[in-house]
Subunit: 350 residues, 4 copies
Amino acid sequence: MPRSEPEFVEALKEEASAFPLWRFHNAKVERPKVLPHVWRWSMMERFAQEAGDLPELKGQGDRRALVMSNPGLKMPFSGATKTLTSAIQIVWPGEIATAHRHTPAAIRFIIQGNGAFTVQDGERFIMDQGDFTLTPSFVWHDHGNLTEKPMIWLDVLDAPLVGYLDASFFEDFPEDEQPIIHPEGYTNVRVGHGLMRGLADRPAHNRPLPVTYKWDQAYGALRDFDQSTPFDGVAMEYINPITGGHCMPTVAAVLSRLRPGERTGAHRHTATTIYHVAKGSGFSIVDGKELAWSKGDTFTLPSWTWHEHGNGSSTDDAVLFSVSDLPLLEAVGLFREEEGNPQQVTGSFD
Amino acid sequence: MPRSEPEFVEALKEEASAFPLWRFHNAKVERPKVLPHVWRWSMMERFAQEAGDLPELKGQGDRRALVMSNPGLKMPFSGATKTLTSAIQIVWPGEIATAHRHTPAAIRFIIQGNGAFTVQDGERFIMDQGDFTLTPSFVWHDHGNLTEKPMIWLDVLDAPLVGYLDASFFEDFPEDEQPIIHPEGYTNVRVGHGLMRGLADRPAHNRPLPVTYKWDQAYGALRDFDQSTPFDGVAMEYINPITGGHCMPTVAAVLSRLRPGERTGAHRHTATTIYHVAKGSGFSIVDGKELAWSKGDTFTLPSWTWHEHGNGSSTDDAVLFSVSDLPLLEAVGLFREEEGNPQQVTGSFD
Amino acid sequence: MPRSEPEFVEALKEEASAFPLWRFHNAKVERPKVLPHVWRWSMMERFAQEAGDLPELKGQGDRRALVMSNPGLKMPFSGATKTLTSAIQIVWPGEIATAHRHTPAAIRFIIQGNGAFTVQDGERFIMDQGDFTLTPSFVWHDHGNLTEKPMIWLDVLDAPLVGYLDASFFEDFPEDEQPIIHPEGYTNVRVGHGLMRGLADRPAHNRPLPVTYKWDQAYGALRDFDQSTPFDGVAMEYINPITGGHCMPTVAAVLSRLRPGERTGAHRHTATTIYHVAKGSGFSIVDGKELAWSKGDTFTLPSWTWHEHGNGSSTDDAVLFSVSDLPLLEAVGLFREEEGNPQQVTGSFD
Amino acid sequence: MPRSEPEFVEALKEEASAFPLWRFHNAKVERPKVLPHVWRWSMMERFAQEAGDLPELKGQGDRRALVMSNPGLKMPFSGATKTLTSAIQIVWPGEIATAHRHTPAAIRFIIQGNGAFTVQDGERFIMDQGDFTLTPSFVWHDHGNLTEKPMIWLDVLDAPLVGYLDASFFEDFPEDEQPIIHPEGYTNVRVGHGLMRGLADRPAHNRPLPVTYKWDQAYGALRDFDQSTPFDGVAMEYINPITGGHCMPTVAAVLSRLRPGERTGAHRHTATTIYHVAKGSGFSIVDGKELAWSKGDTFTLPSWTWHEHGNGSSTDDAVLFSVSDLPLLEAVGLFREEEGNPQQVTGSFD
């Protein structure tokens, strides 16, 4: 006499490490789900300052990071999205992180302070407020704060993605610091201010460079650039200067300037995005709810979330810095985008 | 008076939806981990036959799939790897799945039976034993078994990856079956047996085609091809005939023929692979443990696992069909590979 | 007192090896100009047979080629177009060309005879009527006719282009014949009948292969393929099976089947084309003049010439084999195309 | 009785518009051949100034160009190479060329004067000494000199190549001048100083931009860049800032700085190059002959010519600006390069 379906299912699971598809279709599977969420600067800064004073972390600026955990993701140490982490890091004067490299790539956007340094592939880069630095996969890097004041920055890593792909590798450099073999400004020179490049650098060698994009240059370009895009205001993408493509193969980064009073159209797409408010204040309409933001706030928008942005000021620019997993979605042919009508606002985020 | 570190951590978590990086570094985080595992044909076939008799599933061949769940992945309905599911599906004579499409892409490798059909983009494909069929992302498809005997096949989908990327979309076709608008064999003609292509099909249009690769042709090519690769015997990759690249942007598929007595070298790489034994029997050495396999067995090798293969017969070919997430690792620059020495065998898989 | 303009011009030319632009603009410069032209098979075959009997050429089948010289090109030994030569070659039983290689690439389309051979990169290819063989740039090759009957084929080389670019290199193989290191059919196996490829062959290695495209397969594909293009009937391009792109970087080759009574639309484009009638008879309208053609005829259409084609038979297929410099025009961004109305016929070609 | 071979050949030529290959192989065909040649600035400037005074050309600055004609090319109005023309153009204060576009692409390198303008695609570019301007294929452009002094520049066009490919098209703009729709500096902003780009500009849209590369920025990059290449000193390529590739699909442009006393290695390649001395003086060894050069001189090196360069000064930089047809050779797979030993000098150029 045959087993019943429940007996069959149990045996299948126990004996064969398999499950029946029909149970899956009927099941209410609760999966972690990225939620739109905002991490307020007022709160994050307070915690960051307090973390700066914790005696347990003295001298350990590289571990003094507050990692934003998406409330929709259930894992103990989840990131801001499923592919990316973002964290507020505070580095005290005199703190130095020793040289190492890892396959997760990192970016850093300076929130407060001027003059911290990072050394990458033998070149020292100075990081000031608003600057955006790439640490591509497996580039030797070390960094520190030799100024008189604390530095605060936003760290974004593709560590969750690299972990998901089981491709994490880590190495310490044999010395605390790597030797400096290039003069400051070398990479900018090597890419000829974007109009030339060294004969040895061909686009086919698409390993991303450890570029630092200066705020003055980036925001200056946005101020000079006079054309708005439909959904992002006056927006430019930070590029890999050798290939002209995305800044790294796992992350795209964009700086969007909303002119005084500017309001964008609504769209949704399958890339998940982390926004950080670089300047000014305004609001986004996110699946019908208003999300007010101002300088220093960080917020995420999940895949396929309707969104539109507005500058709340009639006199000053508002500037959003954002990173997303767009290159990944494109690479596997799963990027899709839909334009929408202006949304009705039916609620708001805290 | 300042809070203690534990008080700080608790407040950070509760009030700010964030966690401190220093706790993460010290934590023993138990994460789901793909394990090497073998699903024996002897057991899977027995369950498949039994599932074929379950009255609950009468006429529902598209749900009668036994999904292999990697024992290292803790989620209730996890796949064979973190990016791919694989399942044994048994379709009874007369069962038909109605037409639909979804963003997860599927492949099917026929284990038993001849003459089932699938219709994709208006073309009917007949599937016989050993055939390998692509259902690319968002292609309309329906399939069924109008023969007198049950068909058994291996289904592999990139559904876990698409779910991870929050890019799942599904649509039913307005009718049960889609109209057939091309003669049988149309796609093979359209790609001119690999030597020509229709003027309208340019490599730049890289949407993968719903190709069926016939066993006789594929295995025939491997028998004729006289060169062994270092790690895979006589091996050829199934390609997208328009672009010459991987068969789909998320999945690479390879057919490997181990000649009688042939034994490969050892290597490891960051692509995770699902192997299915298409013919013969043999063994793999997996991180020092022997994994014996014979026709119908399915096994997974996680990222960065040492492996080498051997044909156990001195007279007959052994053939492995395998699929992996190689294209994804390549796209994000995280594919790496290492050659090794022949491994010491220190144990074996059940 | 200053020189007059004519004195100035003379001095500039003599002393500075320069000329004044203003003289160029006023000059009626007579430049060589590709004309549409047809080389009739009835005439070419008669000459080919007569050349076969010339005692001066006994045993020298590789030199017994009648090179079509475009009447609009004034140079002593000009080709059929400015980028390509085409020639009728007759090879007597027993004649063998010794092994060599050169940077100009060649293609061969067999007009008459079965069973000649060419050896390329260590593989012997048999060439029968209607077959189309590639000899890519700098591939070692030798060929011969070991059958009982003469073979006649059409040879097309990009030698004028390579000469124009000053990139001609030639080498004799150390032996008369190169060793055969692969079994017959190896390349077709290596490219897995277009659906697979050896693991070592990646599209990035875009050196074209020495493929032979069999007539039965190529014409068979066209008979099975049921979709007409606007300007070329049922048309497929012969491709590089590794990359899916043009068969060679300097030459695109197309086989066009005009179904009984089929007539195409009119267009013009900047690629210059050589047509060879592979089967049947019909006509083209070329800048308003009718060009009747039948099997064996060869004709050229210059850049930016209006053309449309018709099959003269209501019962049989007409098939045009054509080669053009399209890949070159595309590579430099100078390909353009314009669709036109059906042309008024106001005359005809001889 | 059969015809003799000479009778046969004559008939073939007359009746069939064909020639026998065996005659070609035996013939001493005299073909135009690019020669290494130098056009001295001392002479070209004298002629340019004199041309500026010719009453016939009053107000016609766009026709007052002295086109360098390679002494090895026999055609009445041949260019400096087979693919490129180069000319010295002198434009008088107040002279304006009306707006037009053509498929030949142009570049301009300013030899003398500051402040001329060109308008391209609605943006006005100011051209000063040492600046390098692109006019890509079929971009509307007009230019003029509204300063108080004459301007002298070097013009290079790919007109011979476009003519060879029979792909020349020309159009006058409906008005004398095109409207200016972008602010000055727009393109540099649009490409974000090479580190960003407007969201609408994707590398896939590879139509080259009408960029002006400023001397201060280009030479500044070379002064800062501290690495010598084997054959070109400290050398950088001017790139298409959107794609990172060559500045145009038909022309590559390089700026090479030879440090005081620097001497390069010897090589030869199949790209044909036009050099213009932008600064300083030095020498090249060209197939064993010394070619001394100083500021303003222009010289060509044909395909496959051995060459090495030296800076004649022990205190000052020497800078060579060069353009070549490298992209074309690469596109068709005919670029090859060979490294050599330092050459014995056995003579010299005038």
